[in-house]
Symmetry: D2
Subunit: 254 residues, 4 copies
Amino acid sequence: MSVCIDINGVCIGGGAFQLIAGPCSVESKAQIISIAQSVQRSGAALLRGGAFKPRTSPYDFQGLRAEGIELLLEAKKITNMPIVTEILSERHLPLFENVDVIQVGARNMQNFELLTILGKTDKTILLKRGLANTLSELLSSAEYILAGGNSNIILCERGIRTFETHMRNTLDLSAVPALKEMTDFPVIVDPSHALGIARLVAPMAMAAAAAGADGIMIEVHNDPENALCDGAQSLTPEAFHDLAKKVRKVRQAL
Amino acid sequence: MSVCIDINGVCIGGGAFQLIAGPCSVESKAQIISIAQSVQRSGAALLRGGAFKPRTSPYDFQGLRAEGIELLLEAKKITNMPIVTEILSERHLPLFENVDVIQVGARNMQNFELLTILGKTDKTILLKRGLANTLSELLSSAEYILAGGNSNIILCERGIRTFETHMRNTLDLSAVPALKEMTDFPVIVDPSHALGIARLVAPMAMAAAAAGADGIMIEVHNDPENALCDGAQSLTPEAFHDLAKKVRKVRQAL
Amino acid sequence: MSVCIDINGVCIGGGAFQLIAGPCSVESKAQIISIAQSVQRSGAALLRGGAFKPRTSPYDFQGLRAEGIELLLEAKKITNMPIVTEILSERHLPLFENVDVIQVGARNMQNFELLTILGKTDKTILLKRGLANTLSELLSSAEYILAGGNSNIILCERGIRTFETHMRNTLDLSAVPALKEMTDFPVIVDPSHALGIARLVAPMAMAAAAAGADGIMIEVHNDPENALCDGAQSLTPEAFHDLAKKVRKVRQAL
Amino acid sequence: MSVCIDINGVCIGGGAFQLIAGPCSVESKAQIISIAQSVQRSGAALLRGGAFKPRTSPYDFQGLRAEGIELLLEAKKITNMPIVTEILSERHLPLFENVDVIQVGARNMQNFELLTILGKTDKTILLKRGLANTLSELLSSAEYILAGGNSNIILCERGIRTFETHMRNTLDLSAVPALKEMTDFPVIVDPSHALGIARLVAPMAMAAAAAGADGIMIEVHNDPENALCDGAQSLTPEAFHDLAKKVRKVRQAL
C-alpha cells in the first residue's frame, strides 16, 4: 500500500481515495470560490486551479499568475480546502509559501533544476508524468526531489503521446498498478488532461478508481463553454457531482 | 447501448458483461478441457484458445493448427461453451465451420481480403485493434466485414504500441467509451495481451469493466510456467476465479 | 555490402543503386505505359504500380486488380522494365506468375501465412516494414520467407507511425544503416508513402541515398491532381526526372 | 532559404553549412582544448560542450557546471571558435555572458518561463525539438523567444520517441524540409543524440546534409570508452575528420 502523504489532515495514499477538483485556470474570485464550494459539497478534498499556465503558444492566456495564487488562497480560507497549483519556475517559489501541493506539470517532469530546488522544500510535490516519459524516468525524476530530502511526492498519470488523435493523449492506466509495484508514493490520475473531451472523463475516472489509483484530479468549471482554457474537457459542477458518486461506488466495490 | 450479438444463447453487448477465458494455445485435450471446465465454474461464458498462432518468429511454436481446433470442439462438446479462436488465412476457413467466434488478430486488422471473405460468412467476428491503428481505422476495418452483409462484429481493444517498455503494449482503455460513442458494436478488452504481465491483468480487467466494456478476454493456463506461449501473462485458474469475483463486484457498482 | 538480388538482369543491392518508379494505382493502359516510358527515360530500372490496393475504407477505389496486373505486363512488354506490384492474398498468387517482384505491404508484414507461401516461390519479395514494427520484427518476417527456401528478399523502409501529424508517417532513415549492420538483404526506401506530401519526397530521396540505401521507390503520376489514389504524394514525370538527377549526384559523392 | 544567424562571423543558415562538434561533457581543460583543436582542424566552425548536463538520474554525472563554462571559454580563447552550451535554469544565465550560442535542450523545449527570459537577451538560442513534440509545437516554442524580441534562433532536430528500441530515438529527418517550408530559421540536425550509436552517426549526418540541413552537431570525444557521458555515441576525432570530408562531398553534390 502506498504511504499516506498528509496534506493539512487530508491523506493522499495510505488506503484513502481522494478527489481533487477545480478549474483549469483561476479566472476570478467569484469563479474560484463558487467552484471550490460546489466541488467540496460533492466530496472533493483538495482544490486545484491553474495560476501559472504553461501554454503551447505565447499568445494564449497565460493564467492570472501571482494574482491567481492569491485568489486560490482566498478560496482556501473560505473552504478550508488544501490547494494544488502548478509552478513553472523556481523564481516564483516565494509565491507558493501557502500553497499546500505544488504541481510539476508534464512539460517540466525533466526540469531537473526545478526538481532539485523543490527537493529542498517541505512542500508536497505532485509530479506529473511527461508526455513521452517512461515510468522508470518518472521515478528518476521523483528521485531528484527525494535526493534533496523531500519525500512528500505524489505521482500523477495524465496521458502519454501516441499516434491516436481521437483523444488529446492516451491515458495509460496500467501505470497505476505498475507504479504501485515499483514505489510507495501515492499515484493519482488526471483523466481530464489525458482525454481532452469531457464526455470521456467520467468512465475513465471510474476506470482509474478500479485500477487502484489513490485519487483522481478532475477539471470542473461553472461555465465550460466560456472557460479561458480547456473548456472542452471541463465538467460542470453537476456532472462532477454525478461522477463523484459513481467513483465512490466503484471504490466501495473493491 | 451496444447491440446484443447472440452466440449460441450468450449475448455479447446489449447490456450484458461476459468473461471470455482460456489458454494462449491449445496444447492437449486434457489441458483445454481442464481449463474450460475451471473457467466455466468461475463464470466465463466463452472459451478462448489459440489453434493457429501468429508468432513473430517462424521458429516459435505455431500452434496445433487444425488439431487445435478439433480439441477446442471437444471442449465445447463437453462444456457447452461457445468457442473463440483466431484465423490466419482464408484458406483455413473450412476448419472454422463449428467455431462460434472467429478472431481476427491485431496483425490482420488491415488484412482486407480476409475481412471481405469473413463479411460473406454468418460467423461472429471478434476484430482486434491493430497495434498502430486508430479507432477510426478499426471501424473502417469493421466496415469491410459489414459491407459483405455480416454485422456480427465484436471489437476488441488489446493495447497499442508506444514508447513505454515496462509493459508489452499500452492498454488504451479510453477506446471503450470512445468507441461506444462511435458505434453500436460491442467492445471488449483483452488486458492479457496488452500488458504481458500476469500481475497487472486483474487491476486492468477491473478498470475495463469500470470503463464500460461489454466483456473481457483473459488468458488462463493451468501451468503458466510451462505454457507453450505467453506464460508470463497467463493467470492460473485460481487467480482467474478471484478476478472474476472482483470484476462482477465492479459491474454491480455501476 | 548487401547481396545483389538479380531481377531480369537488374541488381538490387550488391553496390548498385536503383530507382523504382510508377503510379500508386494502375488506372489505364495509356496511363501505365506513358508513365513507364517517362520514368525509364529518367533512369528508373523497375516499374511499380498498384493493381490490388489495400485501402483503409472498403468504399475507396480498390485498384483494377487482375486487370491492373495485365496492364502492368503490357507495360513490361513494351519497356522491358521488370515490374513490382503488391499482393494482398495468397489466392491471387497465380496472377503474379509474370510479375518480377511481389510486394508485401506494411499492413501485411506480419501476415505470416502469406509470407510462408511466398517463401515457397522463387519470386523476389519486396517486404515493407509495418507501421508499428521494429527492425528486429522486420527481420523475423523476412525469416518466414527465408525458412521456405526463398532468399530473394528486399527490405523497404516506408515510414512508421508516430505522434507527428505534419506528414503521413515518420520516415525512419536510420533503419537503412542499422539494417545494413544486421543483414545482407538489400534495403530500399519509399519516401512517397512515408511522407504523403510530394514536396518533401525529393529531399528525403536524396537523404535516403546519402544514408546508404540500395534504391528508392517513388510514386510518379502523369496527372497527380486526378490520380485515383495518393495524388498528394505523387511526383509529375518532370519532377521525377529532376529528382533522379539529384539523387545520382548524391550517390556519386559517396 | 533560411536567414543567416551571425555568430561572431560564422553564419548558421543563409546557404552556409556548418559543423558543430565537441564532447558531450566538458571534462577537463586538456580534454576540451584538445578536442576543440582537432575538430577545428577537421572543419568544425563551432565548439559544443556540456557544462550543465540534464541527466535522467540525479546520481549520474551532472557536468562540471560553472567550471565547465570557464573551460569552454578557455578553449574559445585559444581556438577562436564560438561555443555552444546548454542552459538548465534562468538562474545560471549570468554564467552564459560570454557563451555565443545558448542551447535549450529537448527536455526544456516547453519550459516557457526559460524561453521567455531568453527572448529578452540578444544571445543566439539553439532550440532543440522535444522528444514528443510536433514541428508546430517547436515553432510555438520559438515564438516565445521571438515574442521577447530575440530572433536569433536556430532549430535542431535530435530525434523523437517512438516504439523502436534499436536506436535511442528515431531521427525524423523529414523535419528538415518540412521546417524549411514553415519558417526561415536555420535548421540543424544532431544525429549523435538521436541515435546513441556511434556507427550510425556518419550515415545519418550525410543524410541530414542531403535533406538540406544548415548544419550538423556531432559529439566527438578523444577517448569515447572513458567518456563521463554518452561515450557510446561519440566519434573519435579521426572518425569525425572522415565524416566531415564525406559530408562536404554530399553538400557539394547538391
